[in-house]
């Protein structure tokens, strides 16, 4: 009986690994590397990559600049409705991307909630790169926020209190104690958020549309190239696989590297010293 169980476990593992690895390997096996590089030189592929990189980086900068203080505040304050706020900030995680796109249209579209006011200011967001940035921000920010929140929550409040009795005001406490100690978690959340943003499709195509050279990101370009220029699609796909793999690796390594320099929790006296 136990032998059979072990076999079943092994088979399940093999099946899972095969299932997950096969599509990825298949991409690389279908296009010879030489062709891959050549296809990437093509104008549309290059445009798509540039747009993807530009919008992802801008979106990511916002996510870090706004998400970090937000997570810090929520980590250190308890107030009525706190868990509701946290759930709200995590909501995009469970929202289907197309619904996210609809939501963004409903808020910032021409006939959206803020559409009128924005229009008066001369700001038309749908079909622009701004829309791409917003879509990426919306779907990727919860990935960062969640990590950042738990990273800040893991910092012992006694350390923050100690810093204040040592003359550090709230900003210096954040900069010199909370931030360095939360860094591994922030780094991991950041790479995941960036990867998610890079691959964003559903909300982008709804909110920003798809126009080569303006709003067509790499994932949108892949979708566009599927029927007529399959090789370009493959090349872009392969590149995104490589980028995602690199990001995943970074997400794993960054915490390990920073943790060796600074443990993120306060010490409890080891029992040997009691």
């Amino acid at each position: 009986m136990s032998r059979l169980f072990q076999l079943v476990l092994a088979a399940a593992l093999v099946a899972t690994v095969t299932f997950l690895a096969l599509p990825v390997l298949a991409i690389f096996l279908r296009v010879p590397p030489g062709d891959l590089v050549a296809q990437l030189g093509e104008e549309r592929a290059r445009n798509a990559l540039l747009i993807s990189l530009k919008t992802s980086l801008i979106a990511h900068a916002f996510i870090l600049l706004v998400g970090t203080p937000a997570a810090y505040v929520l980590a250190n304050r308890s107030f009525r409705g706190r868990s509701a706020v946290v759930s709200l900030l995590e909501l995009p995680l469970v929202l289907p991307p197309a619904v996210a796109g609809l939501g963004l249209l409903a808020a910032f579209g021409r006939s959206g909630l803020l559409g009128g006011q924005l229009g008066v200011l001369g700001l038309h967001i749908p079909f622009t790169q701004v829309a791409v940035v917003l879509a990426v921000c919306f779907v990727a920010s919860p990935f960062y926020f969640r990590s950042a929140l738990s990273a800040f929550e893991a910092v012992d409040p006694a350390l923050l209190g100690a810093a204040r009795t040592l003359g550090a005001g709230p900003f210096r406490v954040f900069r010199r104690v909370a931030l360095p100690l939360a860094l591994p978690g922030l780094g991991a959340g950041s790479t995941l958020a960036f990867a998610r943003g890079l691959g964003e499709f559903g909300a982008t195509i709804m909110f920003a549309g798809s126009l080569p050279g303006r709003t067509q990101t790499a994932p949108l370009a892949i979708y566009d190239a599927l029927d007529e220029e399959f090789d370009v699609a493959l090349a872009l796909g392969a590149l995104l696989v490589l980028v995602s793999a690199a990001l995943l690796l970074a997400a794993k390594l960054v915490p390990l590297w920073t943790r060796s320099n600074s443990p993120s929790t306060t010490l409890s006296v080891p029992s040997a010293f009691r």
Binding site: L159, G161, R164, G169, S262, F273
Partner: protein, 344 residues
């Protein structure tokens, strides 16, 4: 050096904290069971806690005054706070920790606390005693006007504790700062402080020199907290002007204190002597009982006899050949007893 004045009234989870203290150029220890509100007092002085009502002032400088709505943030108060588990910054080395409040006195402090050789070491690699010294050095880096110590010895093992206690007492004497120590151990308080305040459930029951608390405990809690045996009974006038206390556990005991009704009879373990048979001496109280346990404490032994704990020298314990289960007589004088009110 200014006097620290403190009066506060604050609702904690299960009771109200209501204390008033004055701290001059001395060391005052607040002792009490865990949860009595001791740490909250420290946090209020440091500014990490904002009391519902009250006033905290150092001399003429008000740090907190609920009447005027003034609440100076912690970073603007001249306090040095040593946390219970030291709260050393794990991402900085010893020098980084000590220098956090200010670089001016770092070298001097590292020297004084004999941690210069550890300057580049991370807290995780320090021993308990070393961590405590770093925490103290760090707290003193800003030249604080008031020193606050939260359970300074609890994180140490029994052996280190004895050594550190002595060193700490010397240090406090040298510094001459108004110091408030919080601890649950009366012996530590007695060793380190000039005055001791007993705090229970948010209220201070008694403040005075350790010897005073021992000699004249204000109530049963103070008595048992300071280490006395507390025997419950009913008091009534006895012969020779003494009070006879009929003990709940059986038998009677006599005291020179006057009281009537339900009382606690307090007698300190070191006032209790043991013998195989009742000695014929001036001690009036003799209680027969079985030895329940023997605990060695260096050159002393704590012997538990019936409802009493006696503390005798190890040599005497050997001489008497004491062992568990043996019948002995515990004696103490009527003059060595205190009668304290029971209840609350």
């Amino acid at each position: 050096m200014d006097t620290l004045e403190l009066s506060l009234d604050h609702a904690l989870r299960s009771f109200r904290l209501s204390v008033a203290l004055e701290l001059g150029r001395e060391t005052l220890a607040l002792v009490g069971p865990s949860g009595a509100g001791k740490s909250s007092v420290l946090r209020a002085i440091a500014g990490l806690l904002r009391p519902d009502r009250g006033r905290v002032a150092l001399g003429a400088e008000a740090w907190f005054d609920s009447a005027t709505g003034m609440h100076l943030p912690p970073e603007r108060r001249s306090v040095g706070l040593v946390f219970q588990e030291y709260a050393l910054f794990p991402h900085l080395d010893v020098r980084g920790n000590v220098a956090f409040g200010g670089r001016a006195r770092v070298e001097e402090l590292l020297e004084r606390f004999r941690i210069s050789h550890l300057a580049g070491v991370r807290p995780a690699d320090l021993s308990g005693g070393e961590r405590q010294r770093v925490a103290l050095a760090r707290a003193l880096a800003r030249d604080p006007a008031v020193l606050l110590l939260d359970e300074p010895l609890s994180a140490l093992d029994a052996h280190t504790r004895g050594v550190v206690r002595g060193e700490l007492a010397e240090l406090l004497a040298e510094l001459g700062l108004p110091t408030l120590i919080v601890t649950h151990d009366f012996e530590d308080a007695a060793a380190l402080a000039d005055r001791v305040g007993v705090i229970v459930e948010g209220r201070i029951l008694q403040v005075g020199a350790a010897a005073e608390l021992l000699a004249a405990p204000a109530d049963a809690f103070v008595a048992s907290f300071t280490g006395a045996n507390l025997l419950h009974g009913i008091a009534r006038p006895g012969t020779g002007g003494l009070t006879e206390v009929v003990l709940d556990t059986g038998g009677s005991a006599f005291s020179t204190d006057q009281a009537e009704g339900k009382v606690g009879l307090a007698v300190y373990p070191w006032e209790v002597s043991l013998a195989r048979t009742a000695p014929v001496d001036s001690a009036v109280n003799h209680l027969r009982g079985e030895v329940r346990s023997l605990v060695a404490l260096g050159n002393r032994v704590r012997v538990s006899v019936g409802p009493l704990t006696a503390e005798i020298t190890a040599t005497s314990a050997e001489r008497l050949v004491l062992a568990e289960g043996e019948l002995v007589v515990a004696s103490f004088k009527a003059t060595a007893t205190r009668l304290v009110p029971l209840g609350s």
